[in-house]
Symmetry: C2
Subunit: 436 residues, 2 copies
């Protein structure tokens, strides 16, 4: 048994010590994208504003308002949790009934309180906020989509939000994505944004997205709020179908701690102010789909990079599974395993725990056909450690902040890729402290 | 947000500081049963011995040998992992073919190396050890059941075990359960034993069991080895049926970290040397079944009490589910949730996370019919926090080391109970350090 002080413990001690000297506020994740919040394109027909309602936090913005022009198409995907929040249920109902873009649309989001498990009062709060948005902006209440993120089970002090809506409406401006992304943060250590510009015919079409989330992230989306804006011209059913399919390979392909939030919401607003009508099956649809996929995957990975306490970003690639379903079972079993995640934190190339995670996944697996790679190094094959494998190379590889772990089951054509982070002392500290 | 130093962090700091002064070796779990290893009854027809083969550990015993008289019936349950170890596969084959008690039986167990994912050589090691046991004891090799626990993926140095078998055989004696339980420990902080005596007619029948396990514990048994000995007279099919059914409510009802080992094995040896023949459906069968259930549940709970880094023992009781399957889904979702387990570590009555875990379980649930209790305190009902609930009472309750968390779904008659522990800094330290 190796009993020297582990990397995890060293990191934790260092964090403890640095806390004495540092100013208040969590340090930014070491996995945050370099260069800070990206330059996002101005999306025609979208204005954004942020303000401080004091729902729970002090001295920071905690409400975002986005208003879209008439003609805007809305699509969305929400958590499948059976205890999902009032705003989520309201979004679902409005998306299902939405008649399309004859009038404008709005999105209002608060941080600090999730308005989840708040009884009948929760719906009254949603209604009050939506009505106030309608009054301030002129968008009909049926097209005001709201989200709340933060503590569960406390009544949302919606009057505080209502009180700032006039001023938020007055402050609306194009391209204020950075301010919006900051207002919706909870335990996030940095604001998350991603954008793309594509050419469709002679026109330039833009996509800009923001997201929040760092704990309670899991398949089916975790405490994650994502808002994507585009000026593309696309009909609602096509956008909705595209969105649902891309969600499986982006936001449903990440996990921080296997826990699933009651509030997850992903909304896309397409204002239709740029480019040609995108027809299903067209080359334009392919180009738009790929750009949307890029934005969604980038935002999903940014959420994992802000995983609570994360120090390593781990991509788990599974191939050779008997089916896609089996590939996903194996990938999520590996990505959710506390023993794999603590080994990654400790920079230990502990492939035995990967074998364990494959074994418990419920997917078809044959020990003697299984192969495992840590980055470029083949570790296990033919039912045992590979003769090529050298522990020092594995250990050196594990010291990098960005890791790829590959598993081939040798049985079929099922493949998938998921992303996760390591499990560290700081995850424990954050979650034994913070009331979410 | 409360940002004072959490209990989890305080515990961790204290552990860090105490490590400087303390002697080598992990401290005993604060949840260990008081009074140390229990007095276990002498089971007629069973002899046990322990010795030091130096498989991996130094200066401690790491091999246990148990030999049973002719007439002994063997039953067993093993892990369902698809990457289970060579000794597990060997046990399964021998149990399936076992012709019963005309000859004796033996169990040999080593700690330090699990002989899992060791290719064809793994089976050769099992064979070599079993043959050496047969040579030393006279028990036919087909009735020598072996287990190995410890590091995955390293060749078992079986010659070291073979070398001590003659001396182990010479040291066999009745009732040496304590020595056996200590020899099979890995990250365990205390040896685990449980026994019962029952009266069947005029006879006294005894049951004594030992177990090891503390990490990688989950449904389908974790890294858990359990050996139960009885002098009851019972036929193999009846014992096997009883064992499988009782496993669901004992060893399959505990979880430490949702990870499942490649090595789990539960064996029961019934020597038939005491009491009347136990007939299926008889009153004697009921009495024996209940005593066996007690021993199994006690050992299972002792494993959780030794959960890596555990400071709290948590019983999760679910009722009112639409089915037994749904009850189990909810209970395991709560018991495996890192956010629930870190809240318990932080002594935070964070019922919102319980709502979240119910929601993600996949079981039918209706927010407005859900009720949640922390011990005697009703926390949530009718879709919101209960008007009776007072946070100070919840917080006081959470400070106890033994907790009961109750969830009623208000939908049907499905019930279940599972046991788990909290998730602390020490879990991270142990698993980022230790190569399992």
């Amino acid at each position: 048994m190796r009993r020297q002080m582990s990397r995890a413990r060293r990191l934790h001690k260092a964090a403890q010590q640095s806390k004495v000297a540092k100013p208040v506020g969590p340090k930014v994740s070491p996995l945050a994208p370099v260069g800070g919040f990206p330059m996002l394109p101005i999306v025609k027909g979208v204005s954004i504003s942020a303000g401080a309602a004091g729902v729970r936090y002090r001295n920071r913005n905690d409400v975002m308002l986005a208003v879209m022009v008439p003609g805007t198409v809305m699509a969305g995907v929400t958590t499948r949790s059976s205890t999902r929040s009032a705003p989520v249920l309201d979004c679902e109902a409005k998306l299902a009934l939405d008649v399309g873009g004859e009038v404008g649309a709005a999105i209002v989001v608060n941080s600090g309180n999730s308005n989840a498990f708040t009884g009948a009062g929760g719906f009254a709060s949603v209604k009050a906020v939506a009505q106030a948005v309608a009054d301030a902006t002129g968008v009909p209440e049926a097209r005001v989509f709201s989200s709340s993120t933060g503590v569960i089970g406390e009544a949302l002090p919606h009057d505080r939000i209502v009180a700032v809506l006039e001023s938020l409406n007055a402050g609306l401006k194009p391209g204020a994505f950075d301010a919006g992304a900051r207002a919706i943060m909870t335990t996030d250590t940095y604001p998350k944004g991603s954008g793309r510009e594509i050419s469709l015919g002679d026109a330039t079409v833009k996509i800009a997205g923001i997201a929040k989330g760092s704990g309670m992230i899991a398949p089916d989306m975790g405490t994650m709020l994502v808002y994507i804006f585009t000026d593309a011209r696309i009909d609602q059913p096509q956008l909705q179908t595209m969105l649902r399919s891309l969600t499986d390979t982006s936001f449903n392909a990440i996990t921080v701690d296997s826990d699933t939030s009651t509030s997850d919401t992903l909304l896309v607003a397409a204002t239709g102010m740029a480019g040609p009508q995108i027809m299903p099956g067209s080359a334009d649809a392919d180009v738009f789909r790929e750009a949307l996929s890029d934005v969604m995957t980038d935002l999903a990975q940014q959420v994992v990079r802000d995983g609570e306490g994360a120090t390593k970003f781990l991509e788990v690639r599974v191939s050779g599974a008997a089916s896609e379903t089996d590939a996903r079972k194996v990938a999520m079993s590996v990505a959710n395993s506390p023993l794999v995640k603590t080994a990654v934190a400790g920079e230990d190339p502990n492939w035995g725990r990967v074998v364990m995670a494959v074994g418990k996944s419920g997917a078809a697996a044959d020990r003697d056909k299984l192969s495992i790679w840590f980055g470029p190094h083949i570790v296990a094959e033919n039912g045992w450690v590979s003769p090529e494998y050298r522990e020092d190379l594995g250990a050196a590889y594990m010291r990098q902040p960005e890791l790829v772990l590959r598993v081939d089951l040798g049985l079929g054509n099922g493949t998938t890729t998921v992303w996760t982070c390591d499990l560290t002392h700081d995850y424990i500290s954050i979650n034994a402290d913070y009331r979410s």
